[in-house]
């Protein structure tokens, strides 16, 4: 039998998950539509004045993006759990943490990346100046990445539980609060024409930390769920 190296296995999982995700296009579209709706609610609830909206745009976009990114998390391991793929992954002898990392990356590509890509469009609607859009996209890319890796831990812990999705948000949101603080602050600074290097670097540090530590927690949680 041919041995599959871990990099090959990761690439296979990443590609397989993406193919599955793009086959169910509505699952990719839902968070994006949700993000667009929430940002539409804000002018309706507060004021159509772009000057006023600009002041809160950073926070609004970040909150909406975090909530939108939470939407698909519960499906991350659900089908693998249901059809026995997860068991095969555990038995495959490949390091489970790296498999989890590949799955998280695939999940981010299918759910976080679309949010990042549409965010400039919505930001312009909230009066964000064009110079701030790069910072917005960078911060959201890092932020949705952090949420995907933290959320993967939550998804693995709540795997197969009834009402798992509500529980999942309850577990993940407090952990994501630091990211929200720095992300929204970075966007806010950029909107006001300041250099947002500091918060972006801290956000990057958090991204690296969550990316290195959370796969191990996911692996532990997956093993527990299959015992």
């Amino acid at each position: 039998m041919m041995q599959t190296s871990i990099t090959q296995a990761m690439a296979l999982i990443y590609r397989g998950d993406l193919i599955l995700a793009f086959r169910r296009w509505e699952q990719i579209a839902q968070p994006v539509v949700f993000l667009a709706m929430v940002t539409t609610l804000v002018p309706l609830a507060l004021s159509p004045e772009l000057g006023e909206l600009r002041e809160i745009a950073g926070g609004v976009l970040w909150i909406a993006a975090l909530l939108a990114a939470l939407l698909g998390l519960e499906f991350l391991y659900r089908s693998d759990h249901a059809d026995g793929t997860l068991e095969q992954m555990l038995l495959s002898g490949q390091p489970l943490a790296l498999i989890a990392l590949a799955k998280t990356a695939a999940h981010w590509t299918a759910s976080g990346l679309p949010l990042v890509l549409v965010s400039p469009l919505l930001a312009v609607g909230l009066g964000v100046p064009a110079d701030a859009l790069v910072v917005l996209m960078t911060s959201l890319a890092l932020g949705t990445g952090i949420l995907s890796s933290l959320g993967a831990v939550g998804a693995a812990l709540t795997l197969g539980l009834r009402r798992g999705s509500v529980l999942l948000s309850l577990l993940v949101l407090p952990l994501a609060m630091p990211a929200l603080i720095f992300g929204a602050r970075a966007v806010d600074m950029a909107i006001h024409g300041e250099v947002a290097r500091g918060p972006l670097l801290l956000l990057g540090a958090m991204f690296v930390l969550s990316l290195t530590l959370s796969p191990m927690a996911v692996a532990a949680a997956l093993r527990i769920s299959q015992e």
């Binding site: 933290l150 831990v153 812990l157 709540t158 539980l161 009834r162 009402r163 798992g164 529980l167 309850l170 577990l171 949101l173 407090p174 952990l175 609060m177 630091p178 603080i181 720095f182 602050r185 801290l202 958090m206 930390l209 530590l213 959370s214 927690a217 532990a220 949680a221 527990i224 769920s225 015992e227």
Partner: protein, 245 residues
């Protein structure tokens, strides 16, 4: 090093008996110290030169705040021990500690709010300490909710342990990011909290209360762990001897 004491301590029957024996030795001193601390704090300590008698809330607020964090840390250590060495008793300790910690966090928030009303002029101020305490409460509630929604006890134990460890890694990050966030938006906050110009007759009741709360937690933990052990070991043979004696 000789580890027999450790294995003995981790054996449920031994711990069950030991906990039963030391509970009164924790409970009565805790009760006594709380009475002394309350008398010292409410009667003997002079009013603060800036805050008047409102500062006396510190005697319940500060020990609760300290316990809320201490319990989370202790719970995470118990969870790690339970995960790494697969010691069931450690999971029982973690399970018993979480609700108590949540209660202390809740009391910290309410007493902080009651203290804040005369000092800040509002019931709630998004102050760094209060905000991180609120996030801590969310972490506790998440843990309790996760444990409650898993039926299988072993899975509940181990999943909660993983979550407790993830939480403890995140706590410092949450703490520092909240402080950073708070210093940015400080501008409008006017606090009457002066420099710590605390005198000895203000300080000793506080220290007494700190010790009292810790002993109190010890007692409640012992009682709860005994309950947890009974629930977990219901088919063990030692239980028959222990309960029908």
């Amino acid at each position: 090093m000789n580890w027999t004491w450790f294995h003995k301590l981790a054996s449920p029957p031994h711990f069950y008996r030991l906990a039963g024996r030391i509970t009164p030795w924790l409970g009565w001193p805790a009760f006594l110290l709380i009475v002394i601390g309350l008398y010292g704090g409410l009667v003997l300590a002079p009013p603060d030169y800036q805050q008047g008698d409102a500062f006396r809330i510190v005697y319940v607020h500060a020990p609760s705040a300290w316990m809320s964090m201490f319990i989370y840390g202790m719970m995470a250590i118990a969870a790690a021990i339970g995960l790494i060495w697969r010691i069931k008793l450690a999971h029982a300790v973690a399970a018993a500690a979480a609700p108590v910690g949540a209660w202390f966090t809740f009391v910290t928030l309410v007493t902080g709010s009651l203290w804040g009303r005369p000092m800040w002029g509002t019931w709630w101020q998004w102050d760094a300490r209060m905000t991180s305490e609120l996030i801590l409460l969310f972490l506790y509630l998440g843990l309790i909710a996760l444990r409650a929604s898993i039926d299988d006890r072993e899975r509940a134990d181990r999943a909660s342990a993983v979550l407790a460890l993830v939480g403890v890694v995140n706590l410092p990050i949450i703490h520092y990011s909240v402080y950073w966030w708070n210093t940015l938006h400080q501008g409008s906050t006017i606090t009457k909290f002066g420099k710590p110009s605390i005198t000895f007759d203000m300080l000793w009741p506080l220290l007494v209360m700190f010790v009292a709360f810790k002993l109190f937690f010890g007692m409640v933990l012992m009682l709860r762990v005994r309950g947890e052990v009974l629930r977990r070991e219901r088919d063990a043979s030692w239980l028959r001897e222990e309960l029908t004696r």
